[in-house]
């Protein structure tokens, strides 16, 4: 008997069928995915049994009872509030929270603590899109639905590597590809460019200039609009894109001539000091074009997180009240205060994420509560965020993992339920509210986030307002807030769901808002208010210069999620990109491919492995955002990222920081494969889980190579060693009765053998004498050279795919037939397409 629930990863919000701790399947009945799942979603079953769970409350490093821990939280918040006022307290929450948790946190902060210092990590994700919607429509409205992507004839991807970050949407587009053009606007040539009719490798931060130019082009082509603000918007429309004129013109002509055009924008647009302007520049074009609100048309913001939209709906952001109610709109704050019976509703917006941690760094926050997120890693200039966490007298962290960079810093640790255990709702990028249902027992003493919040509120004397018996009661209350202060043009109205019974809530099918009355079925929204917003072009906040000549861009990998707390321990997800790589055009690279390189900015530095990449523009480099102290401490890229934010949305400019690259100076480089994770402490290291609790440890350092220390750390009774030495190359393998226990490779530089083949020996059959003799060569005596895995569902390597192409497999489908690659979740199909394009198919003879 499987449980219908919703995937906890990206903002697509796919329906999932879960069976206990077994593998999961896509829900054929869910409107977001119709049964599809991506590589991460497919591997969800493998994340459930993760050992790294926080099971008991801890206070000051010691296990505590729930009572003691909740008392400690309540006391810390009471003291901070009494000493320096409500704004000396703050909550930093997450798009991983369910809507009910979000609602409880927001009510606790804004209604009862009396501070709007509650912000979500969604601030890092799509705050700029929210700001753009609000400026254009007066409300945070996403007009489109996913069906518009299928109906569109032109799809423009702006700052979106949809193939990797929202793979199921990418697949939906691919499935409806006939008669469609796809244009990708991205400084990088990403996997999403495969098969696209046009890729515009725009200068970083150039989107406003491009859409300003498009707006002028449309105006020149005769498009007209009566909506306010067009003249000012046209007058302000300027800026340089750095793109070839012919390509730009082709894009403009296609846009102008295609009625059904969707512009899908994501973090590449949002994470910018001009993020809100980018949203508005895009919306402006669709308003003038007439495609806003048209089937198969419109601007479409896709969120990064499973419940970023839920956070926006509950108002769990510092500049919103709740239920799309606004301080600025007369009567709405009063209506909410009355509904909540809130004694001290926050009188004004609070501190947005970057400012919140800046206040903490300045000692202005006495008690900070972080829920289900990892700001020590994810915020820009993250070394100063760490300092802020360290300075805050009481840092409370509610999380499901026992070890994250932020959990490590906490004074009070509270074990929260994780996916598969908790119960509530999430809203995806097309406004569909779906149930996340628990199907596993709570591990240890873990509790729902809303319960934890309610318990603390009760201890502070506000128990009546937080006396919910279950998540359904919270959802009803949340739904009721959307009916307050009406009549109103507010489109967000789910008051039709405020009377759901517990049973109806339990079985609630995916439901798109608005649902003003019971039984309403939400669809595409034509915003009742539409305004053009002038978006004069502004370059990124910090320009590259002599000291920092390159522009650092950051982003997601296909198979990792955020700070890797969930995906990091899953071997087959780590396999796609096991190490933190800094992608640079070969002409910008200060060292050879595979060397370690230091990425330094005015704010900090990180060390990653260098990847020469022709897909990078000259002058731009790219790094994944995921790595943490737990996985590769020196590779935390956000340590180097600038903390400048968009003046309207407060979203940080994670996509553009001037940096310099220099070779990382190390006397030795090496790796260790071992049955178990070592507590190694090399100056540079990365931990990579492989199948069967084998761990790959990448490392580099100064001084003498630590061969003997590593051998001692790996030593197992009854095992024997094979050793090899040539000059500064030191290698060793430990075996016990033909079973490989450890492999150590150390050398003076990064030129070490590929790890895949050695790693495969840990899973293979017993190692005989001949294999022992050649093991430390690091490569097989015969057979194909080791090759990275492209298709993780079926474990198909790049070499196998290339062999199939050479044997005549033409195109992704044929490769799938020959090798099974790409026939599972399909997330690797763009990469297979790229391999097909790169290798000529042999001519038949």
């Amino acid at each position: 008997m499987s449980t219908r629930t919703t995937c906890p990863y990206c903002g697509v919000g796919c329906g999932v069928l879960a069976n206990g701790t077994g593998p999961v399947a896509g829900d054929p009945a869910h409107p977001a995915n119709h049964g599809r799942l991506c590589s991460k979603g497919t591997a969800l079953g493998e994340t459930i049994a993760a050992a790294n769970r926080l099971l008991h409350p801890e206070v000051d490093g010691k296990r505590a009872s729930w009572d003691a821990a909740l008392d400690a939280v309540a006391e810390a918040f009471a003291v901070a509030r009494a000493t320096n006022g409500p704004d000396a307290t703050a909550l930093y929450v997450s798009g991983q929270l369910l809507t009910e948790d979000y609602y409880a946190a927001n009510k606790f902060a804004k209604g009862f603590l009396g501070t709007a210092n509650i912000d979500s990590n969604s601030r890092l994700c799509m705050a700029s899109a929210v700001a753009g919607h609000k400026r254009a429509f007066g409300e945070d409205i996403v007009p489109c639905t996913y069906e518009d992507l299928e109906q569109a004839e032109l799809i423009v991807l702006v700052g979106s590597n949809l193939a990797w970050c929202h793979p199921v949407l990418f697949q939906r587009i691919q499935a409806a590809r006939a008669g469609k053009r796809v244009v990708v606007i991205d400084p990088r040539r990403t996997a999403s460019c495969e098969g696209a009719e046009l890729h515009l490798p725009i200068r970083p931060g150039g989107d406003v200039a491009l859409f300003n130019a498009l707006l002028r082009h449309l105006s020149g082509a005769g498009f007209r609009s009566e909506k306010p603000g067009l003249a000012a918007a046209l007058a302000a429309a300027g800026g340089e894109t750095g793109l070839p004129a012919a390509d730009t013109k082709k894009f403009f002509d296609w846009f102008a001539s295609t009625e059904k055009t969707v512009t899908l924008f994501s973090q590449g647009a949002n994470q910018s000091s001009a993020g809100a302007d980018k949203a508005n520049a895009i919306i402006n074009c669709h308003m003038l074009h007439g495609s806003l609100g048209r089937p198969g048309g419109g601007p479409f913001s896709i969120t990064g997180q499973p419940n970023a939209m839920g956070g926006r709906e509950t108002g769990a952001l510092a500049n919103m009240l709740a239920g799309h109610l606004e301080w600025e709109t007369p009567g709405e704050a009063e209506a909410l205060a009355s509904f909540w019976r809130a004694p001290n509703l926050a009188p004004r917006p609070g501190l947005k994420a970057v400012d919140m941690f800046r206040a903490a760094a300045e000692g202005r926050i006495g008690a900070l509560w972080v829920m289900a997120t990892n700001p020590a890693v994810s915020l820009p200039a993250s070394d100063s965020v760490r300092a802020a966490l360290a300075r805050t007298p009481t840092l409370v962290v509610s999380d499901c993992v026992a070890d994250s960079d932020t959990v490590r810093a906490a004074r009070i640790r509270l074990p929260a339920l994780g996916w598969g255990e908790k119960d509530g709702t999430v809203t995806n990028s097309e406004r569909v509210i779906s149930r996340q249902r628990g199907f596993l027992p709570a591990p240890g003493e873990a509790r729902p986030d809303w319960w934890i919040i309610a318990q603390v509120a009760t201890r502070l004397g506000w128990g009546d307002a937080f006396a919910w018996p279950n998540a359904a009661a919270i959802f009803r209350e949340h739904a009721a807030t959307t009916g307050l202060a009406r009549p109103s043009l507010r489109q967000f109205d789910i008051s039709g769901l405020a009377e759901l019974s517990d049973a109806e809530y339990a079985s609630m099918p995916p439901t798109r808002w608005p649902v003003a009355r019971r039984g309403d079925v939400g669809g595409r929204i034509v915003p009742p208010v539409q305004r053009f917003v002038a978006t004069p072009f502004r370059a990124p906040a910090n320009a590259p210069g002599d000291a920092h000549p390159l522009a650092l861009n950051t982003g997601r990998l296909r198979d990792q999620w955020h700070t890797m707390t969930r995906t990091g321990p899953v071997p087959r997800l780590m396999a796609h990109s096991p190490e933190p790589l800094l992608h640079a055009h070969p002409d910008d690279a200060p060292a050879s491919d595979g060397a370690l390189v230091r990425v330094a900015s005015r704010w900090g530095a990180a060390v990653l492995r260098l990847k020469h990449d022709q897909a990078q523009r000259r002058g731009d480099v790219f790094a994944p955002m995921h790595w943490t102290d737990v996985w590769a401490g020196a590779a935390r890229i956000n340590a180097a990222v600038n903390p400048d934010t968009d003046p309207v949305s407060g979203q940080p400019e994670l996509k553009h920081t001037p940096v310099a690259l220099t070779p990382y100076v190390a006397d030795w480089h090496g790796f260790v494969l071992h049955r178990g994770k070592l507590a190694s402490a090399a100056p540079w290291q990365a931990f990579i889980p492989l199948e069967g609790d084998v761990w790959r440890h990448e490392m580099a350092g100064r001084g003498a190579p630590p061969l003997e220390e590593l051998r001692a750390a790996c030593a197992v009774p009854g095992a024997t060693w094979i050793t090899f030495q040539d000059r500064e190359l030191h290698r060793a393998a430990q075996l016990c009765e033909g079973r490989l226990i450890s492999v150590i490779f150390l050398g003076p530089d990064h030129a070490l053998p590929p790890r895949e083949w050695l790693a495969s020996l840990f899973a293979g059959s017993a190692i005989g004498s001949d294999a022992r003799r050649t093991l430390l060569a690091g490569r097989p005596a015969e057979g194909p050279p080791p090759s990275p895995t492209i298709c993780i569902c079926h474990g198909v390597s790049r070499a196998a795919i290339e062999a199939a192409i050479r044997a005549g497999a033409e195109g992704v489908a044929a490769v799938g037939k020959a090798t099974e690659a790409g026939t599972g979740c399909g997330s690797c199909r763009p990469e297979i397409a790229a391999l097909c394009a790169a290798l000529p198919v042999p001519e038949s003879t």
Binding site: T720, W721, I722, T723, D726, R772, R773, T774, L776, E782
Partner: protein, 396 residues
């Protein structure tokens, strides 16, 4: 044409057979000092260890030699050579006239001039007679001391241990077989032999052999007395040159010969362990056989003569295969080592100026041909360096 070959060891026998083949009609006489048919001296260790019996040592039957046109004369020690008369005189006074003489007397075991060296129970390790003496002694079990931890000494020790004797090897250097093995391989070998009950006194030197009427012990320079009712001297070999010297031939360490193995007397060739060819003496069977081939060809007016190749030694000691070649010391060279503790496998390669110059293989010598070829051809290693230690399978 009458051809007399003096010495029926492997080199002499091979020379006799090849000369007979190349010079049809020649009368070839092979004069062997020992009573037996030609036998495989290298296999004496197997006889000692009890792995084979005497018949298996014999390399050529009397009939095979006869069919090949070689007149074999066992028990025929040549006592003198009259070059002017072209005549070899046997110990019994018989004269063998020759038109061409080939000297292949081999070498003799060095016997240290120690007090007590002439006591009964003290033997060398060179020929069948020595082995028979050792086997007789071993029948009574008890203690044996082998002086010399080179190949022969270790073979003697292993054989005696296999026969049930308690054996101690006295060796002057820190590890055994230092000419073929580096210190690490030597230590591995000593450990392995220790597992078979063979003890080592290293480094140590013998000052006297003690005993009344029969050897009873070995006195070391540090004063220790090692009890022994059998003492095997295996401290090296010395070319047999007396016959040649008395015949007035030019003798250095061995009988001097050119690439064609000719001495200054064009009617006399010298080859094998008794010869010094272009300044080089040999101690292994493979080059001795090459010299025999080259000498026969030169006598027939053919071939390029013999040229020293890289010395390589393939040995099996106490069940462990060992092979070494070239410069294994590696002074100012770069050393590569590969060691498998679990399988008693070790190899050491010496590289100079991107060329392999020496190799020690311990435990598994299957790749010896690969390394010998690299050492001999002196090819630059280039990218092969990365896989060099792992054998030919990875060299591609």
């Amino acid at each position: 044409m009458r051809i007399v070959v003096v010495g029926a060891g492997p080199a002499g026998t091979r020379a006799a057979l090849r000369v007979s083949a190349r010079l049809p009609g020649a009368a070839v006489t092979l004069a062997g000092a020992e009573a037996a048919l030609p036998y495989d001296r290298v296999a004496l260790s197997k006889l000692l260890a009890g792995e084979i019996e005497v018949p298996a040592l014999l390399t050529h039957s009397a009939r095979a030699l006869r069919d090949a046109g070689v007149g074999y004369r066992p028990g025929t020690r040549i006592a003198a050579v009259d070059r002017a008369a072209k005549r070899a005189i046997t110990a019994r006074g018989e004269a063998l006239d020759y038109d061409h003489l080939i000297l292949a007397m081999g070498s003799q075991a060095v016997r240290l001039p120690l007090p007590g060296a002439e006591l009964p129970g003290v033997v060398g390790y060179r020929d069948l007679a020595d082995v028979r003496a050792m086997l007789r002694a071993a029948e009574g079990r008890g203690n044996a001391v082998v002086i010399g931890g080179g190949l022969l000494g270790l073979e003697a020790a292993a054989g005696l241990a296999a026969r049930g004797m308690r054996v101690t090897v006295v060796h002057a250097v820190d590890w055994p077989m230092e000419r073929q093995l580096d210190a690490r391989a030597g230590a591995l070998l000593a450990t392995r032999m220790g597992g078979r009950g063979i003890r080592f006194a290293m480094p140590a030197s013998t000052v006297a052999l003690e005993g009344e009427g029969h050897v009873q012990g070995v006195r070391l320079s540090d004063g220790r007395l090692l009890p022994a009712r059998l003492v095997v001297m295996a401290v090296g070999i010395r070319p047999q040159v007396a016959l040649a010297r008395e015949a007035g031939l030019d003798v250095g360490r061995g009988i001097k010969a050119d690439r064609g193995l000719f001495t200054a007397d064009p009617a006399v060739q010298a080859l094998g362990e008794c010869a010094e060819v272009e300044g080089q003496c040999i101690g292994l069977v493979a080059p001795a056989l090459e010299q025999a081939e080259a000498a026969a060809a030169a006598l027939a007016g053919q071939g390029q003569g013999w040229a020293a190749r890289t010395d390589s030694a393939a040995l099996k000691v106490s069940g462990t295969a060992v092979w070494s070649a070239g410069d294994i010391g590696g002074a100012d060279g770069e050393i590569l080592t590969l060691h498998d503790e679990g399988e008693d496998f070790y190899r050491r390669l010496v590289v100079k100026q991107d060329r392999l110059v020496g190799a020690v293989l311990y435990g598994d010598t299957a790749d010896s041909g690969f390394y010998l070829d690299l050492i001999t051809r002196r090819l630059p290693l280039g990218r092969m360096r990365a896989s060099l230690a792992f054998g030919p399978g990875l060299a591609a």
